[in-house]
């Protein structure tokens, strides 16, 4: 089957670059200038870079000076978490139990980390979290739209909670961009992570929004670019592409969110009809992600069968040596190991059509039966 004949339902992992983005980027690819240089070529490059920065800032309710370009969502998250609790002062990092690995794995680098609990829908338990924070809390991190389940977190309440303890608030908005309205200034967040390729921009660039006055220590070192927060030559072409993608996402937000929500709800309704199948995406949720548990199967087997049927989907969670592990997010929501290993994520994007959803709905019943047989 041709790639074009397949149904790509893994946009949360990466969305194909939009043609308009490629068009926007092409002139800047052949520019020789390093935006840091003072000569003409440098000025040309810098102008494109700063225009990209201003454009992104405007779209997400931030000041241009608050936009730090990074290598992607992971790097943005790493910078937020590692950059905040250095030296004397509060050291504890409070992260929710349902964060992406680029936040959750901070435990490999820091000892003073506490996990904030979520309810069975995967939403932050604000009351319980309050008990775990203290004057020693430097940062609270809560993912805005969960990349596995699509569930929307109470980010304003979490920001307020963090601030009452004198802590900063960070939110991973990678899966939120293009699906919910992001207004950095209004959100209460001090730090916010974005990624380009989830909205049809190029892979390899993202941003960390850093509120004016927030002090961060850089993770890397070098030429001191990006207000000394992220050394290294900023890839101008990628920044231009990022800006184009963010602008398109903003322009199309209302219409796309509505369109995708219809597709999402159609899929959820069909999944609700399947035996021993539980939908893990519960409102309020983003319009583009549906997570479901097919009890009595191995997620890997369902993915194998879906791939064979021309459908690209994923579990949304990490692999260890090539073997999908039970989803930490679902485990945090109180699901069993077996269920957490039997769950899949379907995610939509600009190229997703109703026919993709119908095709999925048509193949699932028999496919899940087969996967149950394979489980034993």
């Amino acid at each position: 089957m041709d790639v074009d004949e397949r149904s790509y339902l893994d946009h949360a992992a990466g969305s194909p670059m939009l043609p308009e983005v490629l068009d926007a980027m092409t002139p800047s690819f052949i520019l020789p200038g390093n935006p840091n240089a003072t000569h003409t070529a440098g000025r040309q490059a810098r102008r494109m870079l700063e225009e990209a920065r201003e454009s992104i800032a405007a779209e997400v309710g931030a000041q241009p000076g608050e936009v730090v370009f990074t290598g992607g969502g992971t790097e943005s998250n790493n910078l937020a978490l590692l950059g905040v609790a250095e030296g004397a002062g509060p050291r504890q990092l409070a992260i929710s139990a349902v964060e992406h690995a680029s936040v959750a794995a901070v435990v490999e680098r820091r000892d003073a980390v506490v996990r904030l609990p979520v309810d069975s829908d995967g939403r932050l338990d604000v009351a319980a979290s309050r008990q775990l924070l203290s004057a020693d809390t430097a940062l609270v991190s809560l993912i805005w739209v969960n990349n596995e389940t699509g569930v929307i977190q109470p980010v304003s309440a979490a920001a307020e909670l963090a601030h009452t303890f004198g802590a900063l608030f960070h939110t991973d908005a990678v899966a939120a961009l293009g699906h919910v309205d992001i207004d950095f200034a209004a959100s209460g967040a001090d730090l916010l992570s974005l990624s380009a390729h989830k909205v049809g921009g190029p892979v390899g660039i993202g941003a960390l929004l850093v509120r004016r006055g927030v002090r961060l220590r850089p993770v890397g070192f070098g030429g001191g670019q990006e207000a000394r927060l992220r050394s290294g030559t900023v890839p101008v072409a990628l920044a231009v592409g990022f800006a184009a993608a963010v602008r398109l996402a903003g322009d199309r937000l209302a219409a796309e969110a509505a369109r995708l929500r219809l597709l999402r709800d159609r899929l959820i309704a069909a999944l609700d009809q399947l035996p021993q199948t539980r939908v893990n995406t519960v409102e309020p949720a983003g319009p583009a992600i549906v997570n479901a548990t097919f009890a009595g199967t191995r997620a890997d087997d369902v993915l194998l069968l879906l791939d064979q049927a021309g459908i690209d989907a994923s579990t949304g969670s990490a692999c260890s040596a090539g073997v999908h592990q039970p989803s930490e997010v679902l485990l945090a929501m109180g699901r069993s190991q077996a269920d957490a290993a039997a769950s899949l994520r379907f995610s939509f994007g600009p190229t997703t059509r109703a026919s993709d959803i119908e095709r999925l709905i048509a193949v699932l019943p028999e496919l899940v039966v087969r996967a149950r047989q394979a489980w034993g």
Binding site: D301, L305, Q308, A321, G322, A374, G376
Partner: protein, 358 residues
């Protein structure tokens, strides 16, 4: 056909998969994660199936344009293969884990899962042939007798064989297979074969057994029950072994001594002269059939080691056991090994050696 190709990351399974793709089958590659030993996820290990091997397998699948998955069968493997391996050594027998793996994992657990998912067969890079003889599917030695691996497949039954494929069976030599790998652009063409037991990456079986079963020292006794040395654990010894005995009392005839038996209960290792290793009759239990059952008496060939010589013998087969009378005596046959019997190049069946008589 829809075929599940087991890809170990080695050259044999890679070429096997490549041949199937070329033949126009719908192939899906699967790498088996069998060990829970964290060490195996370090590259450069001597056994199979480290992370490096998994990546090699994935690379081959990508090159062939086929889907690739890693199946974690480590729990079943631990139960069916590793636990059996340890139990056999504890009982003083010498197991063959590769055989057990074929019997319980590759052509059982993997096959079951594959069939349920809609595959028609499992393919491996084993050197063996499947051919139709008189309307029956039979397992045969490979064309290259030096590489023939029909011995480790002899434990499979007719149903398992009907769902198996061995694309390398007609290969003329290993060199030919490597050359083919290179010609196909498979980077694993020059990768050395793994010879060790896959779950003992260091190659130190004695060390592994010591670690798992503990050290239970005891005496080494000769054929007159006299103590002639000491050992640090019976599991390091197998019938026919000559090295590693470190006897304190030399043999009266000045000739080498060999392990003639192992008694873990009494923590004894028995040694004696070469003549005591002589075997004429083998009693083997739990017979399996690679085709139709052939009960009663017949003359054929028997092989008792993976790369052992096929020995002419009279085989009397009953439901529960085989009694094998070798035409010529053999020396040093260890209980626990498989006795695979053939008619010329055709595998008839297999059974586990329980006892031997001179």
């Amino acid at each position: 056909m829809r075929i599940l190709a087991a890809l170990s990351g080695g050259v044999d399974s890679s070429v096997a998969a490549a041949r199937l793709v070329e033949a126009g089958h719908e192939v899906v590659g699967v790498h088996l994660a069998l060990s829970r030993n964290a060490e195996l996820y370090r590259s450069g290990s001597r056994g199979c199936c480290s992370l490096e091997d998994s990546n090699d397998a994935r690379r081959v699948a990508d090159l062939l344009g086929i889907p690739f998955y890693v199946w974690d069968l480590s729990e079943r493997f631990a139960q069916d293969v590793v636990a059996d391996f340890l139990a056999e050594y504890s009982a003083g027998r010498t197991p063959n884990p590769c055989l057990r793996c074929n019997e319980k994992i590759k052509f059982a657990a993997v096959l079951e899962r594959g069939l349920a998912l809609g595959f028609d067969a499992v393919a491996t890079g084993h050197y063996a042939r499947l051919e139709d003889r008189d309307g029956q599917l039979r397992l045969l030695r490979s064309a290259d007798s030096a590489k023939d691996q029909s011995y480790v497949l002899g434990v499979l039954n007719a149903e398992q064989l009907s769902r198996s494929l061995f694309p390398l069976g007609d290969a003329v030599s290993k060199a030919e297979v490597r050359a083919e790998a290179a010609a196909r652009g498979l980077l694993v063409a020059q990768k050395p074969d793994s010879h060790d037991i896959c779950f003992i990456p260091t190659g130190d079986t004695a060390g592994f057994l010591r670690e798992q079963l503990g050290s239970h020292p005891g005496d080494i006794v000769d054929e007159r029950d006299e103590v002639v040395g000491a050992h640090s654990g019976t599991q390091q010894f197998t019938v026919g072994q000559r090295h590693g005995l470190h006897l304190s009392v030399p043999a009266s005839d000045g000739r080498p001594r060999y392990v003639t038996g192992v008694d873990p209960q009494r923590r004894l290792v028995r040694v004696g002269p070469h003549s005591l290793l002589r075997v004429r009759t083998i009693e083997a239990i739990r017979p399996s059939w690679a085709g139709p059952q052939v009960l009663g008496r017949r003359h054929g060939l028997v092989q008792v080691r993976a790369h052992g010589e096929p020995m002419p013998a009279t085989i009397v087969a009953e439901d529960e056991r085989l009694l094998i009378e070798l035409d010529e005596p053999a020396f040093g046959i260890a209980p626990g090994q498989a006795a695979v019997h053939y008619d010329d190049e055709v595998v008839i069946g297999s059974a586990t050696i329980a006892a031997t008589r001179p």
